[in-house]
Subunit: 258 residues, 3 copies
């Protein structure tokens, strides 16, 4: 795979996407969206990959749509169907954990991209803004779904209708950021976190990721059945055997994601 | 339009409903419910209106059902179908922002009416109470949906089963109130807030309001498609042209809601 | 009813399940799951019962699946369908309030059992952990649904993928615990709380419990109709008559749950 708009770093079972358009604060153009999707789809079918990390090059995480790139179709809905929507579906459909390492501003579709990640770690000074409203647009790239799932209607409406900045600390308080890290210790913690995830039973994590998403619009009986289907698979995994054995032997487990 | 139970203040593109039964703490009778619905429906079809504000006259926001008004039907379900339910559907169906200016107690169906608003600003000293339980009833007028959407099952069950008061400050902490304002600065901030909303791209806000509500019970693929449909409309709006142009020209945008 | 793995305490209209396998921190075996379900189903049809309390014997609330009990079927999905799923459906389907008196660790399926309760009170020092991941499994016994309903996707993913401990205090902050109580005052508060619930209009509470759950995956119009159906029933109850009468007479109501 060769890329024009991102760098893909591979280290053991960890793949890291570095959005690489620092001169425009990593704004999304159709090419970059397509490349993110390509990486997510390659990660899905590769036995080697256990964790995907997304971060930005330079000061920003992602400033959203590249307004200067021009639009290919006057119907923005069609643009979304061709660019962001497949990217977002590939990330949330990826049956492996996706860590958002939010190194700076995540705005507009860049905020959506951040929220599409499963586990968010943010640098002090990073912030989130649904700034679509500032150019007269509605939210896209999934923020509608992700805010409803994580912060609920009233907070979602507030963020959407004002475009107000949410600091890393506030994002942790309202629940979509798991860790806020100082500039000094940032890279060390991102690396350690990715390593921690890569040593977990990532098959089971992938199953939980799917089940949690399905639970958004299903009743309890259906969610319990989703859990049962997932546990049939997890219960036959090498990771479960290892998990039980290591528990009995009182030693640390060695999970392979299989 | 003439009203018996509310005052309708019109100021530019801002309409303000003032519940006007201060002698009974603005309790809801069928007439008041009907009048609120009438205003919401008129706001929906008027090109002039961009923001609807709801507040109460006197010390209370709304004390809920007027128990002394008597019931017209022994089947309370039928009463709801004829009164609150159309009012609530009109408010949440209104494709314009609805600001709840919660000036005092919001109890029972008055709490539901507050939660039906999209953006809540509350006066210090105001409080919320799902006090249905105190007279042996279940929640109505939409609180069931609104609490699930904003605070989740366990907090919703707690508030519903105890009727405990939620102060303005706690309401902000748990996420359904956006701003808590002191008595001194209350009216100034309410006016400024309404003006701010009236100068935003209210067409896009209306589209996001619809999409957020649909996201409650849809999967990600469907929400992304909702966003695309909305963005087709927003992308053809005068507000989007103005938003992009003002961004390029580094000046403040002038949105018209069209 | 006779039980091998729990004690059932009956005091007036309050039934208390005490998980009674303190030697294994009240781990769940198929027999215990079955007995919990049996009690929930008996409580459902008994006119006498108005509140169900679940707590643990000894230091733990419930440590989850009893790994040493062995599995009866290599397909863990089938095990869930036969054991936990009917237990969880019986608890959430019970049209009476279920208080979780979380006296100590609630881990794995024990965490799910805690979250299946409607109103959680936790002892200082108690904690919650979705530790399925530590043995290579996905969440089961309903945690997938309960976390999505109470803390949203990102927090749910964090708890599920790390197994991190959530202290009683943090659980209150993120919303699924209503009260944190010190060791000293624990039993007194649990008893008082159960008594408070047993004197509330439990019929209306049961109706709200059902409606809140349905609201998880329904649109507003349907939730309003659920509320109307519930209020038809509540509006004909003795508790509603008593509630209105006591309100008019300015005295404390005496509810019977009928």
């Amino acid at each position: 795979m060769e890329f024009n708009y991102l760098k893909l770093h591979r280290s053991g079972s960890i793949w890291t996407i570095e959005l690489n358009r620092p001169e425009v604060f990593n704004a999304l153009n159709p090419g970059l969206s397509h490349e993110i999707r390509e990486v997510a789809e390659a990660a899905q079918i590769s036995d080697l990959v256990r964790v995907l990390v997304i971060t930005g090059s330079g000061k920003a995480f992602c400033s959203g749509a590249d307004l200067k790139a021009g639009v290919t179709d006057p119907d923005l809905g069609n643009v979304l169907r061709a660019t962001y929507n497949p990217m977002i579906l590939a990330l949330r459909g990826l049956n492996k954990p996706v860590i958002g390492a939010i190194n700076g501003v995540a705005a507009g579709a860049g905020c959506s991209l951040a929220l599409a990640c499963d586990y968010l770690i943010a640098k002090e000074g990073a912030y989130f803004s649904e700034l679509f409203i500032q150019i007269g647009l509605a939210m896209d790239a999934g923020s509608t779904a992700f805010l409803m799932q994580s912060v609920g209607y009233h907070k979602a409406f507030e963020l959407a209708s004002t475009g107000n900045r949410v600091s890393a600390v506030e994002a942790k308080e309202i629940g979509f950021v798991a860790e806020v890290i100082s500039e000094d210790t940032w890279q060390g913690r991102v690396d350690a976190l990715a390593k921690e995830f890569s040593e977990r039973p990532t098959l089971a994590i992938g199953l939980m990721k799917q089940a949690l998403q399905k639970a958004q619009n299903q009743d309890l009986a259906n969610v319990l059945e989703s859990e049962a289907k997932g546990q049939s698979i997890a219960g036959r995994s090498a990771d479960f055997s290892e998990g039980v054995m290591s528990f009995m032997q009182k030693r640390a487990p060695k999970f392979t994601g299989k």
